[in-house]
């Protein structure tokens, strides 16, 4: 299974597994053919920490190439750590899910 690795604006490495991507597009079909846009949301988007879960973040970014009314992408990333065989602890940051959404754009109100 493939994994795509990206770095967010602060340089944190985050990955998406092919298995998870297939799971995402099976449920959120507006994102079919938008893998690059989902990864770009993590790479360039703004992020917001979940107030009740400091290890979970939502990345979001406008996207004008989605169909229908969708004009933005939300991506959920969890930040974990994983013990390695040599006893070191390394970051394990991965994309959990993503949605196309409709969002109010700047200047609309």
């Amino acid at each position: 299974m493939r994994r795509w690795f990206v770095r967010d604006r602060a340089g944190r490495e985050i990955y998406l597994t092919e298995e998870q991507w297939e799971h995402i597009v099976a449920r959120h079909r507006e994102l079919r053919d938008h893998l690059d846009d989902v990864l770009a949301t993590v790479r360039h988007g703004r992020r917001r920490q979940q107030s009740h879960d400091p290890q979970a973040y939502v990345y979001y970014r406008p996207c004008d190439t989605l169909h229908l009314l969708f004009n933005g992408i939300l991506v959920v990333v969890v930040f974990r750590f994983e013990w390695q065989e040599d006893g070191t602890l390394l970051p394990n940051n991965f994309i959990v899910t993503a949605w196309g959404i409709i969002m109010r754009r700047k200047g609309e109100r």
Binding site: A56, F70, I101, I102, R104
Partner: protein, 136 residues
Amino acid sequence: MEQTSLESTLCSGEKVWYEYDQESDLLEVVFKAAEATAAIELTESIVLRFDWETAEPLSLSFISFSRLVQPAEYGENHFPLLADEWPDEAQEKVWAMLRAAPLNEFLQLGSYAPPHGRQTIPIAVVKRPAVLATAA
């Protein structure tokens, strides 16, 4: 990722499907298996997918679900609804869905009037479905 899937019937008689991923603590409640034509962030942790034409809810997703339903020191946690982020043309549809079944079986609406605030803030409490008592 390890997923728990189960089917249940709501008080309203509608069938729903719960899909809970333990590793990521993500719960998706599916009301109807159809392609959504719209989706919005209800709160910073809840996404609603729906059919734009019929204003029919298709699914609710809860990020970090087990923490959302964890009681705080003085009772249940309330979360602000991101109504200011919803486009004007979506407002009426979203409020109507929130006040009706099946969404009102999962979210209880409320208002918070901050002292000296000019605007009342809409808030919601996540009702933990009994069927998920042991899932998260």
